[in-house]
């Protein structure tokens, strides 16, 4: 059974690296991948992640990922999230919120219906 896969592809490298490291450290049971923002669509196709954290949402992310986080688009403090199809805006998203999104995504039905 595939473990939960999280792809982090923020425009700012330090964001991707720090978040990926935090995910790996706090959730050693999940698979965490990093990518450059310009490789986002290609890596989504290749890795088929359950959750994508990115700076700019693309159609490929929306189509493929069960959940996604558009993190600080245009460097604004708000983020847009979609967890198993349920979309909302979060002001000042915290690391604990991102971990919660991972947990909620893991609880998705095994048949992938979301």
């Amino acid at each position: 059974m595939k473990g939960t896969r999280v792809l982090v592809a923020c425009e700012l490298r330090s964001y991707s690296e720090a978040l990926a490291a935090a995910f790996r450290g706090l959730r050693p049971d999940i698979e965490v991948f990093e990518a450059e923002a310009e490789d986002l669509d290609r890596e989504v196709e290749r890795l088929d992640p359950d959750l994508v954290v990115c700076s700019r949402l693309t159609a490929s992310v929306e189509d493929h990922a069960a959940s996604w986080v558009e993190l600080y688009p245009d460097h604004e403090p708000r983020s847009v999230i979609s967890v198993l199809g349920e979309r909302s805006t979060v002001e000042e998203i915290q690391l604990s919120d991102l971990l919660s999104i991972i947990e909620r995504t893991e609880r998705a039905p095994l048949n992938g219906a979301w």
């Binding site: 490298r13 720090a18 490291a21 690391l95």
Partner: protein, 244 residues
């Protein structure tokens, strides 16, 4: 008994020195960054290393100012974002330079404006890094600052200070040029900012095209540019007009 007592004292003293050494080996860090999840992830990365202790976090200038002074006096390195929701990181760096001189400020910013980094150096920052920098290099920069190393060479610092000085002088010259503009000339710049061409500006101001062009030549001469486009850029940059 005397020797044993002295030995005990020696052991205690060595222990105290060892503890003090460990405390001194710890780099005490303050993170100032309004993107909370990133700040928390960065804190996680620093805390993973045994030589770092993140003693404080803040998401705004106001939050920094509410930190206990006792805490601030412990900080050795502050990692500071320049774009904070309630002010500029530069003012924090200046505050640290004057009130908490033991704090070495490391700017971590998404800005691409070199002048901004230069102004941070002038304000007292010990180093400037872009957020595109790999985290391992950010961590390494903090280690180097703690070790007393300079992140920038004297030449780089001098060049940045010269840049700030040049910017300041250009700004001063621009303000002097702006003061020489007449009311009519400012109206023409407003019309230019609305995208109007020479004939349209003349019609709006009820003057001939030749008169409009004479005004424009005068404007170009006063502000030291060579074209309408450059005049527009100058006016926008210095707040003379608004581009909507």
């Amino acid at each position: 008994m005397c020797r044993g007592h002295n030995s005990l004292l020696e052991v205690e003293k060595r222990g105290a020195v060892a503890i003090e050494d460990n405390v001194n080996d710890l780099t005490r860090i303050l993170l100032v960054e309004d993107h909370v999840s990133f700040r928390q992830a960065l804190a996680f990365m620093f805390e993973k290393e045994p030589e770092f202790d993140v003693v404080g976090e803040a998401g705004s200038v106001a939050e920094v100012r509410t930190l206990p002074s006792g805490l601030l006096s412990e900080v050795e390195v502050a990692v500071v974002d320049l774009a904070l929701p309630d002010g500029d990181g530069l003012e924090l760096i200046e505050h640290f330079s004057s009130d908490q001189p033991q704090i070495m400020s490391l700017v971590l910013s998404a800005s691409l404006e070199v002048g901004r980094f230069a102004r941070a150096i002038e304000a007292g920052a010990a180093g400037v890094l872009h957020k595109a920098t790999p985290v391992k290099d950010i961590v390494e920069a903090v280690k180097r600052l703690k070790a007393g190393e300079a992140l920038l060479s004297s030449g780089e610092v001098i060049e940045m200070l010269r840049m700030v000085s040049r910017e300041r002088q250009e700004k001063q010259e621009a303000l002097q040029a702006i003061e020489k503009l007449t009311r009519r000339e400012r109206e023409i710049l407003d019309a230019l900012a609305e995208g109007l061409e020479s004939r349209e500006i003349a019609e709006r101001m009820n003057i001939t095209v030749e008169t409009e062009r004479t005004h424009m030549v005068n404007i170009l001469h006063k502000i030291g540019v060579h074209s309408r486009l450059q005049a527009l850029v100058f006016a926008a940059r210095h707040g003379l007009v608004e581009i909507s």
